[in-house]
Every structure is written in structure tokens, then in C-alpha cells.
């Protein structure tokens, strides 16, 4: 079906799809639908998006995607501790690992699980470095948030990964 479109149209369609998936990501982040919540924590949609993107793109464009989504996540929560650093790191790591990863779902889910632990650690580290909160409090919060966020984020990964991944596969053919 995609073959019918000219390269120009394909590019346009691709851009449209990317933009709308980012908007969807933005709109999902403040909602807590049933099944999307564990101990009051929701999945980290931005992280899912950046990982999905970085599995198919080069390091530079992954870092740029991390930067953009980081700015957007900042706008939906707080600007300090910033999410820009977090998502840039996530994008970078994923893009570097790209070659060594078999692209099956279990591996991706596991990767997202580990990356969200790293992401929450980066935020916790920022809190600690800026001395906004006592260390023991941060540690308690980290345990609570990191585990539920990692479980939920990895379980919801297919929601973005499947459609975007198969679209980009088709586009490459």
C-alpha cells in the first residue's frame, strides 16, 4: 500500500505520523486510565517513545529526539530536575546498543525496564546533587517510583513500539 505513494508523500506521511505519536505521548502522560497505574505511578510514555525511535535511528538523531522529548516532558512537569538529561542519555544508550540487540519484543521490554531504572536514577541523582531533598528520602522515593515505573513502562512498550516499528520497517523496504 505504501508503495503507491511517491517518496515525497511518504516523507510527509512519516512526519505526520511521528508528530501525531508525540502528541499522543503528551496527552497520555497526565492521564491515569485503569490498568495504567501501580502505587500511584504511571508509565513513562516519553521514555517508550525515545527508545522506539532510537532503535531505528542513528546516534545523533536519537540524541536530538531525546532533547526534544525532554523539553516536552519538562513542560508537563517540572524544569528542575530536568528530563532533558535523562532522555538524551536514554536515546544515546539505545542508539549505541542498537546493533547488539535482537529486535524481538522480550529483549525490547527488558531494555526498557533497565533504561527506566537508569532514567529514574538520573532524576534521583539530580535531586541529590542540587541538595533539594535529604538523601534518605530520595532513596525511599527512588525505590517506590523506580520499580513501579519500570514495570509499567516496560509492559506498555508494545503500545508505541509495534505500530511505529512496523511502519518504519515498511518504509525502509
Amino acid at each position: 500500500m505504501i508503495a503507491r505513494f511517491s517518496p515525497r508523500q511518504r516523507q510527509l506521511l512519516n512526519g505526520l505520523l511521528i508528530a501525531s505519536s508525540v502528541v499522543l505521548c503528551l496527552l497520555l502522560s497526565p492521564t491515569r486510565l485503569p490498568g495504567m497505574e501501580l502505587l500511584g505511578v504511571g508509565p513513562n510514555w516519553f521514555l517508550i517513545w525515545v527508545v522506539t525511535w532510537s532503535l531505528k535511528h542513528k546516534v545523533l538523531s536519537s540524541v536530538i529526539a531525546g532533547l526534544t522529548l525532554g523539553l516536552l516532558q519538562d513542560s508537563m512537569s517540572s524544569s528542575y530536575p530536568s528530563h532533558v538529561v535523562v532522555l538524551v542519555i536514554v536515546g544515546f544508550i539505545t542508539a549505541r546498543l542498537q546493533r547488539h540487540i535482537k529486535e524481538d519484543l522480550i529483549t525490547i521490554v527488558l531494555l526498557v525496564f533497565i533504561l527506566s531504572l537508569i532514567a529514574e536514577a538520573t532524576i534521583a541523582l539530580q535531586y541529590a546533587l542540587m541538595e533539594l531533598r535529604p538523601i534518605d528520602e530520595i532513596w525511599l522515593d527512588y525505590q517506590r517510583i523506580a520499580l513501579s515505573s519500570a514495570v509499567l513502562t516496560s509492559l506498555w512498550t508494545p503500545a508505541f513500539y509495534y505500530p511505529l516499528h512496523s511502519w518504519w520497517e515498511k518504509l525502509q523496504q
Binding site: L26, G40, I64, R133
Partner: protein, 250 residues
């Protein structure tokens, strides 16, 4: 020069597009995601249930409790005010009820998004209460939404006093239903079960709004005695809140 020009003809469009995307993202961040929240409010409107979802029994219990505590606080205040004859009542402004339509995009930051904004008379700085007591403070508004920083957020601090003895202190959120109160006095008159309300010297909040109950007192803490406070408003289950307009805008 030639290589720069060649690079430009090869990647010019890409560079322009990428910088455009980054510019948009930065703009959204600088405007605190106002446009996105407006869109979100618009899209989530059909899914909002009108109070049908309220867990009635629990909420009425909390409401009754809140009113009882308010009454106690008012009685206590009244006693003091009778002593101080110079007394005038500030004119009460009407309150705005607002549905909670969203939460934070990140668990480290405790905020809620309300489905009413500046069009309904909500301004930055207004105090927000839920059923049971204080919930937070409006930090940002758009025409149809407003963003509330919860009292449970680690960066929010509320001047508070013990309703029974008037011992004053400051409550700092800890990211959960429990917060820490630091007293200004060395030996505050406080015991577990005491009710904590917003302080009358607080400039940010109207005085006498119930905040929570004392769970545990730690008098030996340095540099000041502390107490664990449990919020009486169910902060993680909010569905509707009341916004109190500011009485003395700066």
C-alpha cells in the same frame, strides 16, 4: 567555504527542520505546556464523569470531619478574637469547584491539572482544597486549565499551626500522603492526633483550613522539633477540588 556550501545543499532542509522542532519543543517548555494542556482538557472533556464516580461514603465522612475541624478551629480563633477586640471579618469571595483532569507526567513531581482556568476566575496563587482539607496551590493557568502544585510535593512549604495549642511551624511535603512539620518553638505543645490547620500568619493560604493530623511527634530532632503529619484530604484519589480565590492579591 565550498564544503560548507555542499554540506548545506545536502543537509540544509534537515538542519532547518531539526532546529524548527527544537524551537517548538523549547517554546512549549517555556510556556509550561499551556497549549498541550488546553488540548488535553478539550479531548478529555467527554470522559469526565459528573460526580458519579465519587466514592460517596468515604468522601462525605471526610467532609464532615473537615467541617468539624473547621468549627473547632473557628471556635479557638473566636476565643482569641474576643480577647482582641479589634477584629474585622474579611469578605469571603465565592469559590470555584473544578474537576481534576490530569496528574503529573513524572512521579517525582506532585501536581494535578484542573479542568477550570482563568476564564472561571482562577488566578495564580489561589489555594486549592479537596474534601478533607488543603490540597495545594495554583501555580499556572490557561483559559481552561490550571496547574496545581500539591502540598505533598517536596518543594512546597506551608505555614501551619496546631489547632489546639496554636504552636506554629512549617509543613514540607515528602511526595506521599505523609508530610513533615517543623516547629518554630523548641518545646511545642503538640501530641499525636492533634489537628493541623493553615497558620493565620501564612500569606499564601487563607487561615484555618485543615491540613492533617499528627501521627508521630519527634521532639528530639535537630535543629527543630518535628512531627509526622498525615494529610486528611485523600491526595492520591482527588477527583473534584475547590479553588479559593486569593483574598489579598499582591
Amino acid at each position: 567555504m565550498f564544503t560548507v556550501r555542499r554540506k548545506w545543499t545536502q543537509h540544509g532542509l534537515q538542519i532547518v527542520l531539526v532546529s524548527l522542532v527544537l524551537l517548538i519543543a523549547w517554546l512549549i517548555r517555556q510556556t509550561q505546556g499551556g497549549a498541550i494542556r488546553e488540548l488535553y482538557a478539550l479531548l478529555s472533556r467527554p470522559f469526565q464523569s459528573e460526580s458519579a464516580l465519587l466514592k460517596e461514603q468515604q468522601l462525605t465522612d471526610r467532609r464532615v470531619w473537615e467541617l468539624e475541624q473547621r468549627l473547632k478551629d473557628v471556635e479557638q480563633q473566636n476565643k482569641q478574637l474576643k480577647i482582641l477586640v479589634k477584629y474585622f471579618e474579611a469578605q469571603k469571595k465565592p469559590v470555584v469547584t473544578a474537576p481534576v483532569i490530569g496528574r503529573s507526567a513524572d512521579e517525582w513531581w506532585q501536581q494535578i491539572i484542573l479542568g477550570r482556568g482563568s476564564q472561571d476566575g482562577i488566578a495564580v496563587g489561589a489555594a486549592v482544597t479537596g474534601i478533607g482539607g488543603l490540597v495545594g496551590r495554583v501555580v499556572d493557568t490557561t483559559p481552561n486549565t490550571s496547574r496545581v502544585l500539591l502540598v505533598s510535593n517536596p518543594s512546597s512549604r506551608v505555614g501551619a499551626s496546631v489547632s489546639r495549642s496554636r504552636s506554629m511551624g512549617r509543613i514540607q511535603g515528602q511526595g506521599s500522603q505523609v508530610a513533615m512539620m517543623q516547629f518554630f518553638e523548641k518545646v511545642p505543645d503538640v501530641k499525636p492526633g492533634d489537628v493541623i490547620t493553615t497558620s493565620s500568619v501564612s500569606r499564601l493560604f487563607p487561615s484555618g483550613i485543615p491540613i492533617g493530623r499528627v501521627q508521630k511527634v519527634m521532639l528530639e530532632k535537630n535543629p527543630a522539633p518535628e512531627a509526622k503529619i498525615e494529610f486528611t484530604a485523600a491526595i492520591d484519589k482527588l477527583e473534584w477540588v475547590i479553588v479559593h480565590p486569593i483574598e489579598n492579591p499582591q
